[in-house]
């Protein structure tokens, strides 16, 4: 079955500390992987995506993620967290349909990040 697991429901880090959010997936085809961020009352914003090539991908707001096929993981990292990073983060996996158009995504349940001053 296709699924995305984010094992941490809630994480608290101090401002300036490093961050790693975990994501594991189960997917039958070549996975296309995404991280989204959702601030309270807002929609989801695309942070970064992995389709192919270099397994370390850079995104917006200083985030990066590393695809590890052997571990079926796509963990999100940031070297120094800012208070404005407090939000909920969603990992997602999907596929491309024939012709390269976007297919549907399977989302994890999300990890809520709190940042201590």
């Amino acid at each position: 079955a296709q699924s995305v697991t984010q094992p941490d429901i809630h994480i608290t880090v101090s401002e300036g500390a490093s961050l790693e959010l975990r994501c594991n997936y189960s997917y039958g085809a070549t996975p296309y992987l995404f991280w989204y961020v959702q601030s309270p009352g807002q929609g989801l914003q695309l942070l970064l995506k992995y389709f192919s090539g270099d397994t370390l991908v850079q995104g917006i707001k200083g985030f990066e993620a590393e695809f590890k096929r052997s571990q079926s993981s796509f963990n999100l990292r940031k070297p120094s967290v800012h208070w404005s990073d407090a939000a909920e983060y969603f990992c997602a996996v999907g596929a491309m349909n024939y012709g390269g158009s976007q297919g549907n995504l399977i989302f994890g349940k999300g990890t809520k990040l709190s940042v201590k001053p």
């Binding site: 929609g43 989801l44 158009s101 976007q102 549907n104």
Partner: protein, 111 residues
């Protein structure tokens, strides 16, 4: 800065009433998705369209939900009749091949 827009942003209605939510996808995107987000279930895909044709609506309760794309600039999600369990945030997203881009959502409360 192209964005997905959704209207209304908030909707409170009584059980049994019809609710229509609208979405304007990003111009040029050929795929449109409808999601529902609740605390209990998280993000659930309800339906999606490619080039205005429905591809998958298996996530929708067929007896009360319907989704359409009358034209390339408008997607609608309708609930008739609405029930309290439909209370959720409904998101529209559009994409072309590089990921899905979400609108701000419609927060629906059915009393």
């Amino acid at each position: 800065d192209a964005r997905v827009t959704q209207t209304p942003r908030h909707k409170v209605t009584e059980m049994g009433q019809e609710v229509t939510m609208r979405c304007q996808p990003i111009l040029g995107h050929n795929t449109v998705f409808w999601y529902r987000q609740t605390m209990m279930q998280g993000l659930e895909l309800l339906a999606y369209f490619r080039n205005r044709a429905p591809l998958d609506d298996s996530g929708m309760p067929k007896d009360r939900f319907s989704a359409e794309m009358p034209d390339a600039t408008l997607a609608t999600l309708k609930i008739q009749p609405s029930e309290p369990r439909d209370s959720a945030v409904y998101f529209c997203a559009s994409g072309l091949g590089g990921g899905q881009y979400f609108g701000p959502g419609t927060r629906l409360t059915v009393t």
